[in-house]
C-alpha cells in the first residue's frame, strides 16, 4: 500500500509537469490554448491504450508498472478539469461551433487514439 502510493506519486509529478510544459510550449504555435490540452489528452489516450494492449498481447504486466505509468504518469498527464474549464470559456464566449468541435473532437479523438493504441499494443 505504502509502496504503491509512492509509485503513483512518482508517476504523477512528471506527468503533471510535462502537461504544464507541453501546453505552455504549444501555446504560441496554435490559435487557442485549449488545442494544446486536447493534444496532450489524445497522446495520453494513445499511450494508455498501448500500455493496456501490450498487457493483453504480452501477458500481465507487473501491477507496479501499471500504477506508475497508467495511474500515476498518464493519469496526471491527461486532464479532464482543464478540458472542462476551457470548454466553459468557449461556451461563455458563445462560440458554439468551436465548443462542439472541442467537446465532440475530444471524445471522438480520444476514443480513436485509444483504439489505435490498443490495436498497436495488441499486435503479436
Amino acid at each position: 500500500m505504502a509502496n504503491e502510493a509512492v509509485l503513483v506519486a512518482m508517476g504523477a509529478v512528471p506527468g503533471a509537469w510535462l502537461r504544464f510544459r507541453v501546453v505552455n510550449h504549444l501555446e504560441p504555435m496554435i490559435p487557442r490554448k485549449h488545442w494544446g490540452t486536447f493534444g496532450v489528452n489524445l497522446v495520453a489516450c494513445f499511450c494508455l491504450g498501448l500500455l493496456v494492449g501490450l498487457e493483453q498481447s504480452c501477458g500481465p504486466a507487473p501491477s507496479q508498472a501499471l500504477l506508475l505509468l497508467g495511474t500515476g504518469f498518464l493519469g496526471s498527464f491527461s486532464t479532464f478539469s482543464t478540458f472542462m474549464a476551457e470548454l466553459f470559456v468557449v461556451l461563455r464566449e458563445r462560440r458554439w461551433g468551436e465548443s462542439v468541435l472541442l467537446g465532440g473532437g475530444s471524445v471522438l479523438g480520444g476514443l480513436i487514439a485509444m483504439a489505435m493504441g490498443l490495436a498497436t499494443g495488441g499486435q503479436p
Binding site: 504523477a12 493496456v52 486532464t79 478539469s81 482543464t82 472542462m84 470548454l87
Partner: protein, 154 residues
C-alpha cells in the same frame, strides 16, 4: 557572469514551478487512485462510471471552478491547485479507456450514459464552484472585486 546569473534565476523559477505543480499533483493523483476503489462492488453503468474516474473528475471540476473564479488570478495558486491538484485528480485517459472498454463489451448504453453524465456533470460542477466563489465575493463584500490594477493583491 551575467548569463550564468540569468540561467541561475531561470532555473530557480523552474524548480519553484516543479515544486508547486508537484505538490498539487501528488495528493491529486493519490486521491484519484483511492477513489477508483470506491466502486469496486458496484455493477453495470455505475461500475463503468466508477472505473472511469467519474467521482474524481467531478470533484476536480468543482475545485477547478473555485480556482478559476478567484480574481485577480494568482499564478502560484494556479500552478498548485489548478494545474497540479485538479489536473492530476482528474484524468482523460482512464475515462476514454473505460468508455472504449464498455463500447467493445456491448455496454454501449452504459458508455453513452457515463459520457453524457461526465460532460454535463463536469460542466455543472465547474460552474457550481465558479458561482460559489462569486456568491461568496458578493456576500462578504469582496475587497478584490474590480481590482484590475492588482493593488489589493497580497
Amino acid at each position: 557572469m551575467n548569463r550564468s546569473a540569468l540561467t541561475g534565476s531561470a532555473m530557480a523559477m523552474e524548480v519553484r514551478e516543479i515544486a508547486l505543480v508537484g505538490a498539487g499533483a501528488i495528493p491529486g493523483a493519490l486521491l484519484r487512485w483511492q477513489l477508483e476503489s470506491v466502486g469496486d462492488h458496484w455493477v453495470g453503468g455505475l461500475q463503468v462510471a466508477a472505473e472511469s474516474d467519474l467521482i474524481a473528475n467531478l470533484l476536480g471540476c468543482f475545485c477547478m471552478g473555485l480556482v478559476i473564479a478567484i480574481r485577480p488570478p494568482r499564478p502560484r495558486l494556479t500552478l498548485l491547485a489548478a494545474i497540479g491538484f485538479c489536473g492530476s485528480l482528474t484524468t482523460f485517459s482512464s475515462w476514454m479507456l473505460e468508455l472504449a472498454h464498455a463500447f467493445s463489451h456491448g455496454q454501449g448504453h452504459d458508455a453513452i450514459g457515463v459520457l453524457l453524465v461526465s460532460l454535463v456533470g463536469g460542466l455543472l460542477a465547474l460552474v457550481g464552484g465558479f458561482c460559489l466563489v462569486r456568491l461568496g465575493e458578493r456576500a462578504f463584500g469582496s475587497r478584490r472585486v474590480g481590482s484590475s490594477n492588482g493593488a489589493t493583491r497580497r
